[in-house]
């Protein structure tokens, strides 16, 4: 058996150096990463990368920074298991492998000129943050912006500083809710779906983008449709198990579609037709 070196492999990684680590909660850390020679990642909001640590493995992680901030990119990682735990042990200056960006992100072009309703559940705020900051950096290209955020409890809320900033901006309507909280909590308590009926929006001018745990989608979509938002104005980011990111390994397949290449963001009018998609 002869071993040939190849340079154009889809499994080739780039060496990403960790510039900064921020502890967001007990479970989540934010990693700021730079590529060699300060190369820009050149991603669209909502795309993801395969992050690898040799000897441990690889996992798909959404890029949570906006492509308008080009000198580095950020990943928000929840300590969920073997790989992510190993990632959490890294220090500033350490390297990770990066493949990507992969997939089709949020529908930036259809969003332009329209009102935008962004709905994030839990860690779903991570990918949506790339879009939110993109919108903020190009604020004039978009109409009214509403952000609804749902979280398990106040302690697990991510990006608190930024949330406070979004809340303060007059050109953004920000609203959040927690599933449960101690009595001192002054904000909303209840599922994220409860925030939708109260949002004041022009359904035909609004494009809704949701990102969160799979269980959330059916309920969120119901509420959006009740508001009169057309099916074709709703976008969902679907999570699937992913190994290759290249449309081959089959893990992320939904019927004839590969989530890693054709998604993870899909229009609801497609999702609706596909049994088992949400």
């Amino acid at each position: 058996m002869e071993s040939i070196a190849i340079n154009q492999s889809g499994y080739q990684i780039k060496r990403g150096r960790i510039e900064e680590i921020t502890e967001l909660t007990e479970l989540e850390k934010l990693f700021r990463i730079v590529l060699p020679d300060d190369e820009a990642l050149d991603h669209d909001p909502g795309q993801f990368v395969q992050v690898s640590l040799f000897g441990v493995g690889e996992a798909p992680i959404s890029i949570c920074s906006s492509p308008t901030r080009r000198d580095s990119f950020e990943l928000c990682v929840r300590n969920a298991g073997r790989f992510t735990a190993a990632l959490h042990q890294l220090k500033v200056g350490d390297e990770v492998g990066i493949r990507g960006p992969f997939g089709v992100g949020f529908p930036v072009v259809p969003l332009e000129g329209n009102d935008v309703l962004l709905i994030a559940g839990g860690l779903g705020i991570a990918p949506l943050r790339s879009l939110i900051n993109f919108i903020i950096d190009n604020r004039r290209d978009f109409g009214k912006v509403d952000i609804l955020l749902g979280s398990r409890d106040p302690e697990s809320m991510l990006f608190c500083d930024e949330l406070a900033y979004w809340r303060k901006r007059i050109d953004i309507n920000f609203c959040c809710s927690v599933d449960r909280a101690a009595p001192e909590w002054e904000g909303n308590v209840g599922l994220i779906t409860a925030l939708i009926p109260g949002a004041s929006l022009d359904p035909l001018k609004t494009i809704a983008v949701a990102c969160g745990p799979p269980i959330m989608y059916r309920f969120v979509v119901d509420e959006l449709l009740k508001k009169g938002i057309p099916e074709s104005h709703i976008y969902l980011s679907l999570e699937r198990h992913m190994k290759c990111g290249l449309g081959k390994c089959g893990h992320c397949q939904i019927h004839d579609v590969y989530c890693c290449q054709d998604g993870p963001v899909f229009n609801y009018s497609w999702v609706k037709k596909i049994k088992g998609a949400i």
Binding site: E2, A5, I6, K275
Partner: protein, 344 residues
């Protein structure tokens, strides 16, 4: 010359000639009516009259364990992508298995191309062999139109009374014919014999299930919610035998295999199976195909319906391996029959 003849008496010489040039792989008997593809040095070691081998020739194109990268983590994340290749002649591949290899070709040459596969494939010479008779009751190659050669080989042999009719498809094949010096020009009588063989095949190979090829995807579309899936889901053991033996199943897992020093190692890909429960599980332990019935349905749809949309072909060759190897006796033709019955 796009066609040639080789006398039966010279076939042994051809195999010896090939073995002199490099590694030759062919169908080898294992006893109990079973066969496998393995290295051979002479014609005598092979059984050219064989039914589908336990594992398909997929194992040479997409090895069960395949190194993608060699890494060294001593100084950051350093690695080199590699492909492990071996010059190989695959001798005696039936039309169903040629179709299986063509399916893999389509997937791995689709963008983004998989260079690991593409490079390895270039090192393999394919010599096909026509079946004149049916393998067994598990086969359904005629239903899937894979009982006749449709390309995908360098050379293709069809058995005549005292020789083989050889179709030459590629330059590699032509070179082999010339360099071996064992072939002769085709005669009219040989052409006539080949036509006779194909006429006879028309009688022997008929669609095994009363459905037209072009109607199969719709059958699966219309029976997505069928009870048949529940019934076979109850029988299935989730062992993954059916996917391992399938010539067109290409799903894989990617993992690291560290050396003992834990800083160096290999990133490999290994065969994986959509029949395993963990295959589609995501964070939060949510699974989109939790039930065995969901997973069986997925596999069947992945053979007969989904790839039609994406790759314009079915990913079942009709080899019958899945039915032959299923411990729960889940049979592909029976399943098709049950779906047709249910749809009415």
């Amino acid at each position: 010359m796009t066609q040639a003849l080789i006398a039966k008496t010279k076939l042994a010489d051809l195999v010896s000639f090939l073995a002199l040039c490099g590694k030759v792989v062919g169908p080898v008997p294992l006893g109990h009516g079973q066969f496998k593809f393995a290295e051979v040095r002479s014609l005598a070691e092979m059984a050219l009259d064989y039914i589908p081998t336990i594992l398909p020739p997929k194992k040479y194109f997409m090895p069960q364990y395949e190194t993608l990268l060699r890494y060294d983590g001593a100084d950051g994340q350093q690695m080199q992508a590699v492909v492990e290749v071996e010059e190989l002649v695959l001798f005696g591949v039936h039309t169903c298995d040629l179709a299986g290899i063509q399916c893999l070709n389509v997937v791995f040459s689709d963008r983004p191309r998989d260079l690991h596969y593409m490079i390895r494939k270039n090192h393999i010479t394919l010599i096909g062999l026509e079946c004149s008779d049916y393998c067994d009751s598990y086969a359904s190659c005629a239903m899937l139109r894979n009982h006749l050669p449709k390309g995908g080989y360098d050379l293709f042999f069809s058995e005549l009374s005292d020789g083989y009719f050889v179709d030459i498809k590629t330059q590699k094949g032509e070179q082999l014919v010339e360099e071996s010096g064992l072939f002769e020009p085709v005669s009219d009588a040989a052409r006539e014999q080949l036509q006779e063989l194909r006429r006879a095949k028309k009688q022997i190979f008929r669609s095994e299930v009363p459905i037209r090829y072009q109607d199969i995807p719709r059958l699966f579309d219309e029976t997505f919610d069928s009870d048949v899936w529940t019934r076979i889901g109850e029988k299935c053991l989730s062992c993954g035998n059916c996917t391992n033996v399938c010539p067109t199943c290409y799903c894989f897992d990617v993992m690291d295999e560290p050396d003992l020093d834990l800083t160096r190692g290999r990133r490999i890909r290994v065969w994986d199976s959509c029949q395993h429960e963990t295959f589609a599980k995501v964070a939060g332990d949510e699974s989109f195909r939790e039930q065995r019935s969901d997973r069986k349905r997925h596999r069947f749809n992945r053979k007969f319906r989904y790839p039609m949309k994406r790759y314009k072909r079915m990913f079942c060759t009709g080899c019958g391996r899945c039915s032959r190897s299923c411990m729960a006796k889940i049979d592909l033709k029976e399943t098709l029959g049950a779906l047709m019955e249910e749809r009415g």
